[in-house]
């Protein structure tokens, strides 16, 4: 019995290794796909507002905004009431996609490649490089990816070692400490309204 079990474990080992490798490839294909779509939209000859709209839709479909909202609230998540949490999570999605989505419309570069994928705990980090149209110096951006119910989602963008969501957590935490959760939510709501009207960009 013991022998059989050992044999079974050894027999499964290569599959395990294979499964992990396949995961890395999956992540690479996923991130390159997202980057490719963004670049092709950025290069399209359509109006700026149309570009913005299309890119926001892509970003919205590939990030896990709820997870990020939960993360950026950090220690304040525990102390917030259910009403505050729900309001924040709802506002955050709009804030995130409308603040960062439009930035990608300038990514009308020549090339976007993922150089490698590394495992970090329960995340995969795709180390990507983007080559702008007017420069020979590639810009490196890391995409932190995780699996959420069999679908890959992006949870962080890390540029030059600076994580977007860590920076945001620090910023939100400081703002909440100064003006309280409700005061912060009022400001966030005002911002989201402005962003949606296209005033804040």
């Amino acid at each position: 019995m013991k022998k059989l079990l050992t044999l079974a474990i050894f027999a499964l080992l290569p599959f395990q290794a294979f499964a992990q490798k396949a995961d890395k490839e999956q992540v690479q294909i996923f991130v390159e796909g997202v980057g490719g779509k963004i670049i092709s939209i950025a290069n399209e000859k359509v109006s700026e507002s149309k570009k913005k709209e299309k890119i926001i839709a892509i970003i919205d479909s590939v990030i896990d905004a709820d997870w990020i909202a939960h993360f950026v609230l950090g220690k304040n998540y525990k102390t917030a009431t259910d009403v505050q949490r729900n309001k924040f999570v709802k506002l955050y999605r709009d804030f995130m996609i409308n603040t960062y989505g439009p930035k990608f419309k300038n990514y009308n570069g020549r090339k976007f490649i993922v150089n490698e994928v590394v495992e970090q705990g329960s995340f995969s980090v795709a180390k990507a490089e983007f080559l702008p149209r007017d420069s020979n110096v590639p810009i490196s951006v890391d995409f932190r990816v995780k699996k959420r119910s069999d679908k890959l989602v992006i949870v962080d963008f890390i540029a030059e070692g600076i994580s977007l969501i860590e920076t945001q957590r620090s910023e939100f935490n400081s703002a909440i400490t100064q003006e309280g959760m409700d005061g912060f939510l009022v400001r966030l709501e005002e911002r989201v309204n402005k962003l949606k009207k296209g005033e804040a960009n």
Partner: protein
């Protein structure tokens, strides 16, 4: 005699910074408590990676931040915009190459001090090639040939040997720093012939005489500010607390530079 005196002052300044911060950290440093929902063990990785924000002088730092912000909005930003708008891009590139090249010897020394021999040699070859073939560093010939290096400073060297960043500091006119990094900056600038040149390298007869130094350092500062125009605009427009955003980004960037 003057050299020894200046060096002693420099070292004691630095030592007092490092000692002061290590004592303060032992006594006062409290690890930030991040309460995470238990079901989300994946948050742990981020908690581990989180830069340890130690900002005991936050009140003063915020005041200096506001001062720097005013100085920038009403003066320096305009200088940088005029520079970017008025000086053609190839000339700006030449200026950037030139000032970057002047900093390479210090960067190479710091690389070697950290045992990063390959990077040190790559830095030296950049300096030698660009200073000669690249006409005093105006053309980045080495970079175009693919000789890539990473810049290192004395703050990174101290970080490499385990010196913590110490209290976060906002330095008037210079911006975000930490006691370790500001100490490192004073050291680098103190030794460098284009800085305070306490060792009197190159005497006073050549092009790095004091009157040129002010020009070189001003150009470096304008070039850096011009390269940050869009980022600073974004932070000012988007952040709910620009002070906290800059602090977090600075500390993360330094950790990543030191870990490399």
């Amino acid at each position: 005699m003057r050299k020894i005196f200046s060096l002693t002052i420099l070292f004691s300044l630095l030592a007092s910074h490092v000692l002061a911060q290590s004592e303060k950290i032992d006594k006062k440093y409290i690890k930030p408590q991040i309460i995470m929902p238990q079901e989300d063990i994946e948050f742990e990785d981020y908690v581990r990676r989180e830069p340890q924000i130690y900002d005991p002088y936050e009140k003063v730092n915020r005041k200096i931040y506001t001062f720097n912000d005013y100085f920038d909005r009403y003066f320096f930003e305009h200088v940088a915009r005029a520079y970017k708008g008025g000086v053609p891009s190839p000339v700006r590139r030449g200026i950037r190459n030139f000032v970057t090249n002047l900093g390479l010897p210090m960067s190479a020394i710091n690389s070697f001090a950290q045992g990063k021999v390959d990077n040190g040699l790559a830095t030296i070859s950049n300096f030698l090639i660009n200073s000669t073939v690249g006409v005093l560093g105006i053309f980045n010939v080495a970079g175009e040939k693919g000789i890539i290096y990473r810049g290192e400073d004395f703050g990174q060297t101290m970080g490499h040997y385990g010196v913590n960043s110490g209290p976060y500091l906002v330095v008037p006119f210079l911006g975000p720093s930490s006691s370790r990094d500001f100490g490192g900056w004073v050291f680098d600038k103190g030794i460098s012939p284009t800085g305070f040149n306490v060792l009197d390298i190159g005497n006073k007869e050549n092009f790095i005489q004091s009157e040129y130094r002010l020009g070189i350092n001003s150009l470096t500062a304008i070039d850096i500010r011009a390269s940050l125009l869009e980022i600073v605009d974004d932070v000012r427009r988007e952040s709910f607390d620009p002070y906290a955003t800059v602090r977090s980004a600075y500390l993360q960037k330094r950790i990543s530079e030191i870990q490399y």
